[in-house]
């Protein structure tokens, strides 16, 4: 269950950030969409909204929050499960509540606020989706949002990372049917996160070349994955020198998309936004570089001879 950020701006009176630090990672989120804006059904802007922050530590986002719930690390799943019980009025074990680092009063107040809200939103970050429990945590939160719809309107949306990562997802879906972790080696798309996702391929050493586009895995991936990137011929397309380009065999400087190259970027709610360049760049665009690499590859003979003969020349 999701919605656009425009709906959040116009309707949401309860904003919950879970496992994220939007003040530093998405600095325009509060001012453009979630907190400061006045909306169609939120006439007084910030005064009409309540913001709850759930995280394991105090971050600069705490200052923006009305309520800060500091969960003990790895206890997010338990907190979500307790909230699912509380909104239905089911009994909860005090012992398990104590383990989460929150009090029963805090959790009951949170549950009541969620049920009372006219339109609530969960924005969840990597603090939820990439810590112990991973996709099970995200799934639990999505179920909580779904169940809250028995009482009010509630949606959940992931806080996507930097760059056009949502756009990458969207295009992978219409070309291969899957958002990520796709293997095309058999001539058709196969999907298996944990087997075909980038980090897993690199750590197992399955790939013998890498093309890195609009990302800096050398700064974010686990060390064994970075080590393999340094071993194999890695090609980086980026406007700037990154951690990855320092360990890559080739770095091709490209124009900055949105500043000197046109295109489409997808916002985290999957709304496509046109990018119009303001400046000219002496460097080629990512698209042009990839097209030229593809032409050069297409000119080479096929690794496996085609099984279906080409149409006879007219």
């Amino acid at each position: 269950m999701s919605c656009t950020l425009g709906e959040v701006k116009n309707r949401a009176d309860l904003i919950v950030y879970w496992g994220g630090n939007p003040a530093e990672c998405h600095p325009r989120h509060f001012t453009k969409y979630t907190l400061m804006q006045k909306g169609k059904f939120i006439p007084n802007g910030r005064k009409d909204r309540t913001m709850v922050l759930v995280d394991i530590r105090e971050t600069p986002s705490v200052k923006a929050a009305d309520i800060f719930l500091q969960v003990r690390p790895t206890k997010d799943f338990e907190v979500i499960t307790i909230l699912r019980a509380l909104i239905k009025g089911q009994p909860v074990n005090e012992q398990i509540v104590a383990e989460t680092g929150l009090t029963m009063a805090q959790l009951q107040d949170f549950a009541d606020r969620m049920k009372r809200a006219k339109f609530g939103v969960f924005f969840f970050g990597m603090g939820l989706s990439m810590t112990r429990g991973k996709h099970m945590n995200s799934a639990a939160l999505l179920i909580l949002a779904a169940e809250l719809n028995a009482f009010t309107k509630f949606v959940a949306m992931p806080m996507r990372g930097h760059g056009n990562v949502t756009g990458g997802d969207v295009i992978m879906r219409w070309t291969t049917g899957y958002p990520f972790g796709v293997n095309l080696a058999r001539g058709y798309p196969r999907f298996n996160p944990g087997e075909f996702s980038t980090i897993d391929l690199l750590i197992r050493g399955d790939c013998d070349a890498a093309l890195v586009l609009g990302a800096d895995p050398g700064a974010t991936m686990p060390q064994p994955a970075i080590d393999h990137l340094a071993r194999i011929p890695t090609i980086v397309l980026d406007p700037k020198v990154t951690h990855t380009s320092r360990l890559a065999r080739v770095h091709i400087t490209t124009a900055v998309t949105g500043i000197s190259a046109p295109g489409t970027a997808y916002r985290m709610d999957e709304i496509p936004l046109p990018l119009r360049p303001a400046l000219k760049s002496p460097y080629p665009t990512d698209e042009e570089v990839v097209r030229r690499i593809r032409q050069a590859v297409a000119a080479k003979p096929l690794l496996v001879p085609p099984t279906v003969p080409a149409l006879p020349a007219v």
């Binding site: 997802d169 489409t264 999957e270 709304i271 007219v314």
Partner: protein
């Protein structure tokens, strides 16, 4: 939007094709199941051609390209659905890449190129995407650019 078939015939320029042996249905010209040759020159149907390629269509039906007036084959909602049903993609036979076709996924939400191949396989040349919210119209256009069949939009 120009379909890939049109593009191909434009590229080939003065291509000549004779399709023989097929049962021809053409209501506009009162042809009702007669077996006759269809000749194409420069992308147009003509009375006869000399030389060129001959396609044997014995036992097949020849009719004008079909038009699907109302369909949902592209856009944000469909693309969301694709993400929701990996098990459906897995259950259905995949489309393996060939020198002439791209690989992809069939099932209830086919990938863009497969959508074009499936429609073309049924004899359709034009389809009408009937639900395009303005907010994500740009996305729909980009998907349609990747769908190798002539498609028009109805903006809702």
């Amino acid at each position: 939007m120009v379909s890939s078939l049109e593009k191909e015939s434009n590229l080939q320029g003065n291509s000549r094709i004779r399709i023989t042996g097929g049962k021809v249905y053409d209501p506009a010209n009162g042809v009702n199941g007669q077996v006759q040759d269809i000749c194409i020159s420069d992308g147009k149907i003509v009375a006869t051609v000399e030389g060129g390629r001959t396609i044997d269509a014995t036992g097949m039906v020849i009719f004008p390209g079909g038009v699907d007036v109302h369909t949902h084959v592209a856009g944000a909602a469909l693309n969301f659905a694709r993400a929701m049903i990996p098990e459906d993609h897995r259950r259905n036979a995949p489309f393996v890449r060939t020198p002439l076709r791209r690989g992809g996924i069939g099932g209830s939400t086919p990938t863009t190129f497969i959508t074009g191949y499936l429609y073309a396989g049924l004899g359709y040349t034009t389809v009408n995407e009937a639900a395009v919210p303005i907010l994500s119209a740009r996305h729909t256009h980009e998907e349609l650019r990747d769908t190798p069949i002539s498609i028009s939009l109805v903006v809702s």
